[in-house]
């Protein structure tokens, strides 16, 4: 009798959690066991993702959580007001399917997954408010859609061109507005001391990323690109102090690995720069295929990694308004997002990464439905051809199918790079 009573039917949320846990653990196991032994310090990140995505562990119970829809919301300001920034970009196929009910079939899977996740209201660290920069069309519209689910969503105006002086002024004002709004909601004044401290802290976190990236310039690459994606991805939601500690350990270990000549790739693995739509956990489909095909990702130009950490803030006089202006400039002017009218900066960045990391080729992924990356494909391909850099363009989505077809293309590309290297 008692066993009958305890029998329960799985709720939609439980089902969602179970499916997501399966997606997550599959990727984590691949990273842990599918390649050469990862650095010991990676365990922190594997456990973190397992806790959050398989065991639904909340990390910031005691804090005000500020959701952000894109990277253009300065986390420096959020931390300075004692909030925790949570980046809501999502990589789960399970959530992508939920989101399909709200968005057109051909919409970007990342947007669909983010919307689906919020629509389910099944979040471990549920954001108390959401700031949505008006970047691409789909993200912009998604903000309004999410508001209809009952979330407090504030649009943060973001210009679609960045060369003009008007756009600089515009975004500076926009960020001032954002910080005033957040400060009001938090019931706190943005203080000079705290903002300076959080700029320093994020600056330090960025310097750790730079040090990790520098190791990948060596002939001996001590860490897989996939592991690096996991590290940067953790910055979306992790406690910043823990993240910093874990990265410091990783830096030390990688330093040792370089000395010991431990290479994460194969002997003749071609070196790849990855660009395009961001791989967000657990959608590491393409990066895993790349590194499974005996190539190694040595650098990337994506908003889930490089773009988040590369550029830093300098301030002359450290008054609150100076800091805010400088932050706004960094988040706008240095941004290499494809939503802008012109995109020479992104092309320049890719070429620079290829040169500085001695890469053999570039792999450009666009999500089917991620219009801006699809649109830019042509100009980037042209520029790479001009610069004599091999590039492969692939389109993919979050679905677990089409694996075979994709790996055939990637393998062929990697093979061609190897032949090229041999003939050099």
């Amino acid at each position: 009798m008692s066993s009958l009573q305890s029998h329960t039917i799985e709720t939609p949320n439980e089902k969602q959690n179970r499916h997501k846990a399966m997606e997550a653990i599959k990727v984590l196991n691949t990273l842990k066991e599918g390649f050469k032994t990862p650095p010991k310090a990676m365990d922190y990140f594997y456990n973190l993702f397992e806790d959050v995505y398989c065991k639904q562990k909340a990390l910031h119970d005691d804090k005000v959580k500020v959701g952000t829809m894109c990277i253009q919301i300065p986390s420096e300001i959020i931390y300075a007001l004692d909030g925790v920034p949570i980046r809501l970009c999502n990589g789960f196929y399970t959530d992508d399917e939920i989101g399909s009910d709200f968005l057109p079939q051909k919409a970007c899977p990342l947007v669909k997954a983010s919307v689906g996740h919020l629509a389910s209201k099944n979040l471990t660290d549920k954001p108390d408010m959401i700031y949505s920069p008006t970047t691409c069309d789909q993200k912009t519209k998604a903000g309004t859609l999410i508001a209809s689910f009952g979330y407090d969503v504030v649009d943060v105006d973001f210009p679609r061109t960045k060369e003009s002086e008007i756009s600089r002024e515009f975004f500076r004002r926009s960020i001032r507005e954002f910080s005033a709004d957040l400060s009001l909601k938090m019931g706190k004044k943005l203080s000079k001391k705290k903002l300076k401290a959080s700029i320093s802290k994020i600056g330090y976190a960025q310097s750790l990323y730079h040090r990790l990236s520098d190791f990948r310039k060596n002939r001996t690459v001590p860490i897989l690109g996939n592991d690096m994606f996991l590290v940067t991805n953790a910055f979306f939601f992790d406690k910043i102090d823990n993240w910093i500690d874990a990265c410091e350990k990783l830096v030390d270990e990688l330093e040792q690995r370089v000395k010991d000549d431990i290479h994460a790739g194969g002997k003749i693995s071609p070196r790849i720069v990855y660009t395009g739509s961001p791989p967000i956990f657990p959608n590491y489909k393409i990066p895993i295929i790349i590194e499974d095909s005996d190539a190694i990702i040595v650098a990337d130009e994506t908003c889930s990694s490089n773009r988040m950490f590369n550029d830093r803030v300098a301030v002359d006089e450290w008054f609150v308004n100076d800091m805010i202006d400088s932050l706004a400039d960094k988040y706008l002017k240095a941004c290499t997002c494809p939503i802008f009218s012109k995109n020479n900066d992104r092309i320049r960045r890719i070429i620079e990464l290829v040169k500085s990391h001695n890469a053999d080729g570039v792999i450009y992924q666009a999500f089917a439905g991620c219009t801006v990356y699809e649109l830019e494909q042509r100009s980037v391909l042209e520029a790479m051809e001009k610069a004599g850099i091999s590039i492969l363009y692939i389109e993919s989505d979050y679905s677990p199918s089409q694996q075979g077809q994709l790996s055939t293309r990637v393998e062929a590309f990697v093979e061609s790079l190897k032949i090229k290297n041999r003939n050099k």
């Binding site: 931390y79 004692d82 002086e165």
Partner: protein, 327 residues
């Protein structure tokens, strides 16, 4: 060698600059007391009206020389004019516009006023870009005044009072002598109409100088004819400010710290020589650049001071996670 280079690239340039500026200030303003005389072809505003000047601003002698009658000016008798000019060029060519950022007493005074404002917790003001584009042209008009007005006197088109017309309106004439306790320049000259107009303009510009540089960093330098004159010859200088556009990410850090609001420093990724006419070569941009070797200060193509990640982190206090977000 590597260590020395690292030491320089991580140096706190502000301290270095403060002391160097003080050093030059003493040389130029009080040089007379130490029997220092660097001549009178100095490419900065070390004003000749200061009786202890340790090296005179080139504009005062230049204006006197140009006021000769035209036939004398163009004859062999004016070889001294040429010598003065060549001396000026030699001084300038060595240090380029670093004269402005490191040696000019008038520039140093403005930086001290800026320091005062900072201490008072008042934020600096900036021009909007269209304002800036218009205002920056004024310095060429001033330069025209420096050169054409004495020549017009030489040709008999203007009265003698116009010989040093620029000096009459330059704030340096009134302010610099104050440092040696000379207040004689603080007066209006009622002797003639021209003198009255010029000296009252001088008084107005001095007032503007003091107020302007309190709110706007290096307020006067936007209008400085010496800066305009420098720019004409800056391509020939030994010290150069260079940019490697491929390494630039346009993050705007250099622009954010630039006293002169030079936009090209951040946005221009094609020029290698990035020195612009308003530049005072203070090197704050190089110190604030977070990319390795994107901006550098060269002597004959050798990097003297270059932007580095490490140097940036040190100067911006990002070497430790000493944030206070968990307070």
């Amino acid at each position: 060698m590597k260590k020395i280079r690292e030491f320089i690239n991580k140096a706190d340039i502000r301290k270095f600059r403060f002391w160097l500026q003080l050093f030059f200030f003493i040389i130029f303003i009080y040089g007379g007391y130490f029997a220092i005389n660097l001549g009178n072809s100095i490419p900065v505003f070390s004003c000749g009206f200061d009786r202890e000047v340790g090296g005179m601003c080139y504009f005062l002698p230049l204006q006197h020389q140009l006021a000769r009658p035209l036939d004398v000016l163009l004859s062999a008798a004016s070889i001294s004019v040429l010598i003065g000019f060549v001396t000026f060029l030699l001084w300038f060519i060595v240090f380029n516009k670093a004269w402005c950022g490191y040696a000019c007493p008038l520039g140093t005074m403005q930086d001290w006023i800026t320091g005062l404002r900072k201490k008072m917790g008042i934020r600096f003001s900036t021009y909007t870009q269209p304002q800036f584009e218009k205002l920056k042209k004024i310095k060429y008009i001033m330069l025209a005044l420096v050169i054409l007005s004495p020549m017009a006197v030489g040709m008999g088109l203007l009265d003698r009072e116009w010989v040093t017309a620029f000096c009459e309106i330059c704030p340096g004439r009134m302010i610099t002598p104050l440092f040696v306790g000379d207040i004689s320049q603080w007066s209006l000259d009622f002797s003639t109409k021209t003198a009255m107009i010029l000296t009252s303009l001088g008084l107005i510009f001095t007032g503007l100088f003091l107020i302007g540089s309190f709110f706007k960093k290096r307020f006067f330098c936007f209008f400085c004819p010496m800066s305009a004159m420098h720019y004409i010859f800056s391509d020939a200088a030994l010290l150069k400010l260079k940019k490697d556009g491929d390494k630039c990410t346009k993050c705007g850090d250099c622009y954010a710290v630039c006293d002169m609001q030079i936009k090209d420093i951040a946005d221009d990724v094609t020029s290698t020589n990035i020195l612009r006419d308003d530049c005072i070569l203070c090197l704050k941009c190089v110190a604030a650049c977070p990319e390795d070797d994107a901006l550098h200060f060269d002597i004959l193509n050798m990097k003297l001071f270059t932007s580095t990640k490490g140097g940036f982190e040190k100067r911006m206090g990002m070497q430790t996670p000493k944030g206070t977000t968990n307070e």
